[in-house]
């Protein structure tokens, strides 16, 4: 009550600016982060957002050769999807892609974890040698890796056939790996495994180094065999790493367009050798059927997002802590 009396002139004037100042600052503080996000959001909308929306729309249209030459594209609802559902070739490609992806991811995981356990078990020098070798493989650009592997699997002068042929009882002279789909995809799988194992090994090894030596010693004292220690202690403790790595492998092994395209360059471009990526590419470039290609693309995006969801949920939780 006395305060206004002691300073009557000030009490009237200051409140408005004092009120305005924080609100202005707050408004600027609120606008700040959005301004910082603007360029990133902008480029994502142009490079990813618009194409996704265009694809959703086009997948509901008839968009074939005539539309490539300017005919308006009529909306046909879910006809593209319905056509896909009854297309045997499409289902073949989907099944092959899933099988390829799962087999490759599982083998990658098993080999990768085995090598991580090996790194953990050996002395420093052999560990370093193994790590350098894996890093070299990991760092190879995919196109360069493909040319080397195609040369290694070359029918007549490839090192693989030569070495296998040298084993008594095996006749691999001039064996054409890229001729039949089963060996074609086996080669593709070997190459993808070769390239992806290093990531699995290093991630798992990082997880292994977190396990305290005391726990392992205690288990050994209690008479646990080394296999029991692996199964009972090591594997459960590195399970979170393995779960994430496995999920990433599955997602990555669905996108093997580069590898399949280059193997088809060296072998055959026939439809039997297609996985989802090359299937979409051929629908778009050869048949010029963008409506159908968009429908398949939407399915691929949907599968990827569904699979990624667990990974993303984990990361978001991590972000909040």
């Amino acid at each position: 009550m006395t305060a206004p009396a002691t300073a009557p002139p000030a009490s009237a004037a200051p409140p408005p600016p004092r009120d305005a100042a924080p609100s202005l600052e707050r408004r600027r503080a609120i606008r700040g982060p959005y301004l910082l996000l603007l360029p990133a959001i902008g480029i994502l909308l142009v490079g990813m957002g618009y194409p996704t929306v265009w694809q959703v729309v086009t997948s509901l249209q008839e968009f074939g050769l005539q539309q490539q030459f300017g005919r308006p594209a009529p909306f046909i609802g879910f006809e593209n999807y319905a056509a896909l559902a009854t297309n045997a070739q499409f289902w073949g490609v989907v099944l092959k892609s899933i099988a390829f992806c799962l087999i490759t991811a599982v083998v990658t995981l098993v080999v990768g974890i085995a090598l991580a356990l090996l790194m953990n078990a050996v002395a420093r020098a052999p560990r370093l040698i193994l790590q350098i070798a894996l890093l070299l493989a990991w760092s190879m650009p995919v196109v360069a890796a493909m040319t080397v592997w195609i040369w290694l699997f070359d029918r007549r002068r490839g090192a693989v056939n030569y070495l296998l042929d040298a084993v008594p009882g095996i006749d691999m002279n001039r064996f054409n790996w890229l001729e039949s789909p089963s060996t074609f995809f086996a080669v593709a799988s070997i190459i993808v495994i070769w390239m992806s194992v290093p990531f699995v090994s290093f991630s798992t090894f990082a997880g292994l180094t977190q396990i305290s030596g005391e726990v392992m010693e205690a288990a050994a004292l209690d008479g646990a065999s080394s296999w029991q220690r692996v199964r009972g202690i090591i594997l459960p403790m590195i399970r979170p790493v393995i779960a994430i790595v496995f999920l990433l492998q599955i997602i990555w092994d669905l996108r093997v367009f580069t590898q399949i395209t280059m193997l088809q360059d060296a072998g055959s471009k026939s439809g039997e050798f297609d996985l989802l990526g090359t299937f979409i590419y051929k629908l778009g470039t050869k048949s010029q059927d963008f409506g159908m290609a968009s429908a398949v693309s939407i399915l691929v995006l949907g599968i990827t997002i569904a699979l990624s969801w667990f990974y993303i949920r984990g990361l978001v939780k991590d972000d909040e802590t």
Partner: protein, 278 residues
């Protein structure tokens, strides 16, 4: 079997695995140094005694390597610069501010990071071609920035969050503005993070094949991966000169291997962070 011999045996196994794993890379360099007459033999030559650089000269002879190198360098430089700039701003926003829509942005970034190029390239082709940007540096660069920004944001977010805000606040108490405090205190501490994400963006743009294949249909506008693929494609019509192909592969791979070895520690920790900690 004593513990020590078991350890030795495992050591031997580790070295054997290492040899198998590094063999393809050794084979690339080995074949690149051997003359074609040696490679024509049905018995492979395992050590390049008396090798020469003739294959490299041949691979470089028609000048297409330099054109592709120029294309790759321009696209990569543009992509890395804008990617780092945009990602840096966004990383500051999500790690220094709490605001509405922050979580949605983080989720969107993580989802986009997962999307395969195969799922979008038809639409990207359509978009870039109707903008008249096929076979141009700009068209590919736009897609590359959009594809690489998400993971770079995520990577930089970790780096920015790792620098305590207290440092900035202390500098502000000492009279610097908020922007000044950020530029003079946080930014220098962030340099290693910027370099690591820059190398990551470099690797992505430099090695990318799928989008480049779709958006650069003309032979005159090839990037290095497309140039290298050309050698394998040519094998459909004539006998492949593997010495030359391996020389070309070596040329493409060596700078990447060097850069990769610099950045790899940061990469793994970014991808599985959280899982290892918990």
């Amino acid at each position: 079997m004593t513990n020590r011999t078991a350890r030795r045996l495992l050591g031997g196994l580790a070295v054997a695995v290492a040899i198998v794993w590094a063999f393809p890379i050794y084979w690339m360099v080995n074949s690149s140094l051997l003359p074609n007459t040696t490679l024509q033999s049905f018995v492979p030559t395992f050590v390049p005694f008396g090798g020469s650089l003739g294959n490299f000269r041949e691979a470089l002879a028609d000048g297409s390597f330099y054109a592709a190198l120029g294309m790759s360098v321009s696209i990569t430089l543009i992509a890395v610069f804008f990617c780092i700039l945009f990602a840096f701003l966004a990383a500051v926003a999500i790690s220094r501010f709490r605001f509405r829509g922050r979580k949605s942005f983080v989720i969107a970034v993580l989802i986009v990071q997962m999307l395969p190029a195969e799922g979008l390239f038809i639409a990207q082709y359509k978009m870039v071609s109707s903008a008249g940007l096929l076979d141009s540096v700009i068209g590919v660069s736009i897609i590359y920035v959009a594809a690489v920004v998400p993971f770079t944001v995520w990577m930089l977010r970790g780096f920015v969050a790792g620098i305590p805000v207290d440092l900035e606040e202390a500098a502000m108490v000492d009279g610097l503005s908020r922007f000044g405090a950020f530029m003079r205190i946080t930014f220098p501490l962030l340099a290693p993070g910027l370099v690591a994400s820059g190398v990551y963006a470099f690797l992505q743009a430099w090695n990318e094949f799928t989008v480049a294949l779709v958006l650069l249909p003309s032979e005159a506008a090839q990037t290095l991966p497309l140039w290298l693929r050309g050698f394998v494609q040519a094998s459909a019509t004539r006998e492949t000169d593997w010495g030359q192909v391996m020389a070309a592969s070596t040329l493409v791979a060596v700078p990447v291997i060097v850069f990769f070895l610099i950045v790899q520690g940061r990469l793994t920790s970014g991808l599985v962070s959280g899982a290892v900690k918990g």
